[in-house]
Amino acid sequence: MSFANKRLGKELAKIHGSLPPGITLVTADGFQEWLLDIQVLDANPIYMNKTFRLKFKFSTSYPIEPPEVTFTQQPDRPIPMHPHIYSNGIICLDLLGQQGWSPVQNVESICMSLQSMLTGNTKNERPEGDAAFVASNRRRPRDIDFYYHDNTV
């Protein structure tokens, strides 16, 4: 069994046991792609009564390499409004980039980080240049050099 599969197997066993409130596993067929739903627990008006779907893609060198994590749109699963989340679901978060990633992070801790990123947000807006980025971007999220100039948002 590969390095990534072994670790993901252990994570999955733990996830089946319990997950923090507001995080639910949708599918985890195999060790390449998982879907999870998250909700914001406090009464943030931007995200009230909404559920968002996260897609995790793992490479064989996970967790040495970060997974590719994006929001994915469904009829009842919008892309959350946030100045660091593009309307195509790509997330600009240093934790998910090569520089900010630590291999001790896991699927659960990423979900929790994204939950708190939404919880603390007060701006009902998209990143600057969202339309142009979404129209022109053909790269995978991991190949994009986001400039994490403002981690306070």
């Binding site: 670790r7 040495i64 390499e65 630590s102 291999p103 001790v104």
Partner: protein
């Protein structure tokens, strides 16, 4: 000249390596670079030490990989002695301070704890790094907990199994090209991995890659050092040019591998045009390429019989194979009218102002003006490429010429010299057209255009001689002519470069745009 003082002050500060060698005997050339006469550093660029430096040449040094390594080792040894810390730690501190030794020592003397913390060296316990088997250990990366699992922790105490640590470092070094600032894998820990710990955790090939990358960061961290951009060249160049100098000097440097490039922007030699002008010109050419491409196409039709002619040599003198019509590739005019009146082909006649009144005409004129210069620029670029191919053929030609004429290998070297001069002059000519495009007319423009014309004529003449066949080349007279023309071309090139460089340094040129 106060402009010189400016350059002096620009160089004299904050770099000890330059100051160490600043006892220049020739003040007039010291302003753009570094002195070459360090007795210890005999690998320096010494080609033309006897020749007086011209106004368009700057001082620089070429460093081989072992020189770069030694400079780092010397600095590490020095810090190791002065601060009495381990060499590995001295290296990490120096890298953290981007090799600014003075600032490191000063800060360290003031607040050693804070400096160590910031550099990722936190509180220390002694003892060399080692792999250990720790009871009840579980690795937070792979979640493995079997007994006997070998693990490693740096001084921060964050412990991971040896295999995870290894995979993590492989990822950082191989995939991400990191070396100087690899942090502990634990989340939020900024402890930097040191060379000794690294050697314990990864295989020999990766250790070597790591040290190569470390050496690279040394060059990348130093403002006065740059890698030679030639493919596979491991050398670095040191030059004291500062960014603010670039509007008044074009710092062309020549690496030990013979590649000439601009220290300011790392593009191939673009004298006499300053970096900013080059940047704009290249952008303009890229933007306007659709309109301009047709004119630089490699094929044209003979103006007399309309058969397609492909340019296959560097010379502008075209002879149609079909009808023997002779014409100029650039303007398509009769070649017989050129020889002495090349001038008409080199200077764009500004249209009368009455024409320009109409906005449509104006834009057409401005496009025409651009195309005029672009055409000549692209022509020399293309010719330089073709001359290069011809140079490869020239080697063959030189061999043939030896047997045809009985000349020795040394005696046919003049063809080699001619080929190099052609390359160099075309490179310069090419950029004189970009230069001219942005030039606003003043009392010096005419002199510039005359110089440009002289060089252009000399280059075309040499190019034509150069392309003669072996039988013609066996004539002793042609050899003398080629040698004369070669040195004449170089002189004309020096002339235009001196004139442009001097006036660039003293702000003598007027531009049609703001730089």
């Amino acid at each position: 000249m106060d402009s010189e003082d400016d350059f002096m002050s620009g160089l004299s500060s904050d770099d000890d390596m330059l100051d160490d060698q600043s006892d220049n005997d020739d003040e007039s050339v010291a302003e753009f670079g570094i002195d070459e006469s360090d007795p210890e550093l005999d690998f320096s660029h010494k080609k033309d030490t006897k020749k007086k430096k011209t106004s368009f040449e700057i001082n620089f040094k070429v460093y081989k990989p072992e020189d770069i390594q030694r400079q780092q080792d010397d600095l590490i040894d020095e810090v190791n002695m002065i601060l009495d810390i381990r060499k590995e730690d001295a290296a990490i501190l120096l890298r953290h301070f981007r090799w600014n030794k003075e600032r490191l020592i000063e800060d360290y003397m003031d607040r050693p704890k804070k400096v160590l913390e910031a550099a990722g060296l936190g509180p220390s316990t002694t003892g060399p790094p080692k792999l250990e088997v720790v009871p009840d250990f579980m690795c937070d990366i792979c979640c493995e907990d079997e007994p006997g699992l070998k693990s490693f922790a740096m001084k921060c105490g964050h412990r991971f199994c040896a295999s995870c640590y290894n995979q993590y470092l492989v990822q950082k070094i191989k995939e991400e090209g990191e070396a100087a600032r690899i942090q502990c894998p634990a989340d939020g820990c900024n402890r930097i991995i040191d060379a000794k710990s690294l050697d314990l955790l990864v295989a020999a090939d990766l250790q070597q890659r790591y040290h190569e990358l470390l050496t690279r960061t040394y060059v990348e961290d130093k403002e006065h050092l740059k890698w030679c951009p030639a493919p596979d060249c491991p050398n670095a160049i040191e030059c004291g040019i500062k960014k603010k100098d670039l509007i008044r000097v074009v710092p062309t440097v020549a690496c030990g591998c013979d590649y000439k490039f601009c220290f300011g922007c790392i593009l191939a030699d673009h004298q006499p045009a300053p970096c900013e002008l080059v940047k704009r010109w290249l952008k303009k050419c890229a933007d306007d390429s659709e309109t301009a491409n047709w004119i630089s196409a490699h094929t044209k039709e003979c103006p007399k019989c309309n058969s397609t002619i492909e340019k296959n040599g560097g010379c502008n003198h075209m002879t149609c194979r079909k009808c023997k019509h002779e014409f100029c590739w650039m303007c398509m005019g009769l070649w017989s009218e050129h020889g002495t009146s090349w001038y008409n082909c080199n200077r764009f006649e500004e249209k009368s102002s009455s024409d320009a009144r109409d906005a449509q005409t104006k834009s057409r004129v401005s496009l025409q003006r651009y195309l005029h210069y672009y055409n000549r620029y692209a022509n020399h670029e293309q010719s330089a490429k073709l001359d290069k191919d011809i140079f490869i053929k020239t080697e063959k030609k030189m061999v043939q010429l030896q047997s045809a004429s009985g000349m020795s290998w040394i005696e046919v070297q003049y063809l080699n010299a001619a080929s190099h001069a052609l390359q160099e002059c075309r490179q310069t000519l090419k950029w004189t057209y970009a230069f001219a495009f942005y030039l606003a007319r003043n009392n010096m423009t005419e002199m510039f255009e005359d110089n440009q014309k002289d060089l252009e004529m000399a280059v075309e003449a040499l190019s034509e001689m150069f392309e003669k066949n072996v039988n013609e080349l066996s004539e002793p007279k042609l050899k003398v002519d080629i040698m004369d023309k070669t040195s004449y071309c170089s002189k004309r090139r020096d002339k235009i470069l001196e004139h442009t460089a001097e006036n660039l340094a003293n702000g003598g040129w007027s531009w049609s745009v703001d730089f």
